[in-house]
Amino acid sequence: MASFLLRRLLALIPVLALVLVIVFSLVRLIPGDPAVTLLGPGATDQQIAALRDQMRLDEPVYLQFLNYAGGLFRGDFGTSLKSGAPVLDEILLRLPATLELSICATLVAILFGVPIGVLSATRPNSMFDHATRIFSLVGVSMPAFLLALILQLIFATYLGWLPVSGRMSPYIVMQPITGFAILDGLITGNWQAAWSAVQYLILPTAVLAAFLAATLGRFVRNTMLEVMSEDFIRTARAKGLSKAQVVLEHGLRNSLLPAITVIGLKFAEMLGGAILTETIFAWPGIGRFMFEAIKNRDYPVIQGTTLVFSLLFVLTSILVDLLYGVLDPRVRKRMK
């Protein structure tokens, strides 16, 4: 297990190096100069030249790359062209918001998606199965911004139960400690803040979870149906196990393996920032940060966020592989 982990972690280095080279050259191929973009239509050439000089954009690209790569080894991701702040600090400031949302959305999606899948599989072509099929279709095909707007209108405007957007009531002033709003509220004993953070989390979570729950529900149903026709299920039934035991211990456990891959992939995607959801709900996450950076041609921020995403993506896939080992003894054996 340890050597498997080590091998996978070592493989990270070439992956990240390749990502770095690709991103570094790609961002410079996007037409448009950061100084021109940042200063807007009113600027003069003199102002633009001065800013280019300040941002050191006039250096040859290979020198810029060497400086950047050298900085990375020292943990220096460069500074944002827009704000002048260190990129790593800026990413770490926003990462908790994205993590909070992604983790909650994934948990909610599992909480709804898996039972729906199991129940539909045990009652194929029942009313329940048809109903969940429609739910899944809507969940998968409705664009995030539309679902977000509908939920905002229903729960915030008409019912008044939940806030429209944001991460916490603006009237509550709390200095972040971990950056996870709910956790910070709990740690400091500020229950009002924690409760407010929960309320603000509900709608964006619902939007993100809807898609994943729908995908997961259909996925679990289909693999489950396959698994339930396997020989070992018949054997389990034959030896007199209760229906629940057959479904949950033998059926579900075996159909969860592919589902975990789906969850892992989707979770990693969410870490890459749900740009639309974060924008509509004014959620201060990393996806929006990257989107703004692309608009502004903020090279160091685009590079930094892409590297962090790649790292998180690869780490998630390693985690998925490890989970495979936990759930499946055959895989565990191979890992050794």
Binding site: P31, G32, D45, Q47, Q152, V164, R297
Partner: protein
């Protein structure tokens, strides 16, 4: 089961605990929540590049020596300066400063702080090099007197001193915070900086010791809400008190204004801006069909200005008649009287006079991106089609658009300017001085010794009345050359909850002060 009991217990206990933790939170009736579309780039006057969000925060946390007097914004008043005199040659500005003003960190404001702040901006901010670069010396005469000498006369310098870049910072705080000052600003203004959370909020607290009197609000919260429809929902729900229109080229959708007009909980404040948007000719290409003034006149008369204002903007923009907006102190009323009118027949006969067959004209109309610019471009396209001119629209991504505009690779382009300081110089010099034609997005005026010298003269003239007459003459000369069709000036529109009182919209630049604002 144990877990369930625990959760149930927590659910019962929660509301009890909730009642006790109110202390540090703000009173909604004394707190103003302002929605802004993006995070402030920085809260540091020294590094400010006229970016709207940061600029407005700076003007509420800091003071400048002088400021434009509300509500007309046509005259300057003293803020940290009690009075000032300008030398006859227009190069020396002597200021007498207000006494007894304290920075938020408890240190005293004095002439040294003025020298420190302005020299600092001059040193670290290349964006204002053209204006701050004129400062040759700042001398401290006494703790309440400071004298600024320019290398050449520049009357608009007082207007520059009213800008966020000229805000007076606490030297002690700058030295203590170093680079951290950008997110922990300390000034003398009506509001003190409380906290900043990236992409989320900026919180300012009232400064009870403010020298003009304590503000009525206890707190201002800027909330970053990037999505326009979310901002509108928040305003309708009372989640924010003010939604501002911001961004150089953005405008509020006309249908949003109409919908909010009928909402009794929402008030709409409007003020004319000094922004000008025009259909620009390439005035520096003798091979272009628009090199013929008759063709330019024909195009200018082909545009249905009022139709554009009503059809595309639903009344959220105003007519522009020439190189300056009607609310500028230097605006020449004669320009309005002689402004081109919508007259397609005249346009057709002008083309005939020029001996140009409209069918032979096939223009590409370059424009910025975005639905609003698209709508304007389509409107112009239809107007020109009406007199037989074929136009293809090319909405081009900004950096590429700037490159082709400054290279002069166009015949027709939609362009505009939002002046970042309140002076006719901000439109005229950069827009029409021939030596600057290729250095920015300008009207690309060809060399004209007479007009060029008038512009330079007006830029340096010390006597206000003479200066005004010079600008009158300049406007007439420019209008006679028909360098473009002046299309519209978007109004500054601010949406507030109905209980917000006392807000006056500042027109140039559109940055609001919240000192006198209250919530009823």
């Amino acid at each position: 089961m144990k877990l369930l009991k625990l959760l149930a217990g927590a659910a019962i206990a929660l509301p009890l605990v909730l009642g006790t933790a109110h202390a540090q939170n703000s009173d909604p009736l004394k707190t103003l929540v302002i929605a802004v579309p993006s995070d402030a780039v920085g809260l540091e006057p020294g590094a400010n590049r006229a970016e709207p969000v940061g600029s407005e925060v700076i003007l509420n946390v800091f003071d400048t020596l002088v400021a434009w007097t509300s509500p007309d914004f046509a005259e300057l008043e003293g803020r940290l300066a009690e009075s000032w005199t300008v030398s006859d040659d227009g190069t020396v500005f002597d200021f007498t400063l207000r006494e007894g003003v304290m920075f938020h960190d408890g240190t005293a404001f004095d002439a040294e702080a003025v020298k420190f702040s302005l020299e600092r901006t001059k040193e670290i901010n290349p964006y204002v090099e053209a204006t701050f670069g004129l400062i040759s010396e700042i001398s401290v005469v006494s703790p309440t007197e400071v004298s600024i000498t320019l290398s050449e006369p520049y009357p608009a310098f007082l207007s520059i001193l009213a800008q966020p870049q000229s805000a007076i910072v606490s030297p002690t705080a700058v030295e203590a915070e170093g680079e951290g000052f950008a997110t922990k600003p300390v000034g003398t203004g009506p509001f003190k900086f409380n906290s900043y959370q990236a992409d989320t909020s900026i919180v300012l607290d009232a400064n009870p010791d403010y020298f003009r009197g304590a503000p009525q609000l206890e707190r201002i919260i800027y909330r970053v809400i990037p999505d326009a429809s979310t901002r509108r929902l928040e305003l309708e729900n009372g989640g924010v008190d003010i939604v501002q229109q911001q961004g150089q080229l953005a405008a509020i959708a006309a249908e949003d204004v109409a919908a909010l007009q009928s909402n009794p909980d929402v008030a709409i404040l409007e003020a004319p801006s000094q922004i000008i948007r025009q259909l620009e000719f390439n005035n520096n290409n003798p091979d272009s069909p628009v090199a013929d003034i008759k063709v330019r006149q024909a195009i200018v008369h082909a545009i249905d200005y009022d139709g554009l204002l009503q059809g595309v903007f639903g009344g959220t923009a105003e007519r522009v008649y020439g190189p300056l907006t009607t609310n500028s102190w230097a605006f020449n009323p004669a320009i309005q009287e002689n402004a081109p009118t919508y007259d397609p027949d005249l346009a057709r006969s002008l083309l005939a006079e020029a001996g140009v067959d409209p069918a032979s004209l096939d223009f590409t109309l370059y424009s910025f991106q975005g639905p609003l610019w698209g709508a304007v471009a389509t409107f112009v396209q239809a107007n020109l089609a009406d007199i037989g001119i074929n136009v293809t629209i090319a909405q081009t991504e900004f950096p590429a658009y700037r490159a082709l505009q400054t290279a002069g690779e166009f015949d027709l382009a939609l362009d505009g300017r939002q002046p970042w300081y309140n002076d006719p110089d901000a439109h005229i010099t950069i827009g029409y001085l021939s030596s600057l034609a290729d250095t920015a997005m300008t009207f690309r005026m060809p060399e004209d010794a007479e007009l060029d010298s008038l512009i330079t003269q007006a830029q340096q003239e010390v006597d206000l009345e003479t200066r005004k007459q010079l600008y009158f003459e300049i406007q007439e000369k420019i209008a006679a050359k028909v360098p473009g069709a002046y299309l519209f000036s978007p109004k500054l529109i601010v949406f507030t909850r109905a209980n917000v009182k006392g807000l006056v919209i500042n027109s140039a630049p559109p940055l609001n002060e919240y000192w006198g604002v209250s919530k009823g």
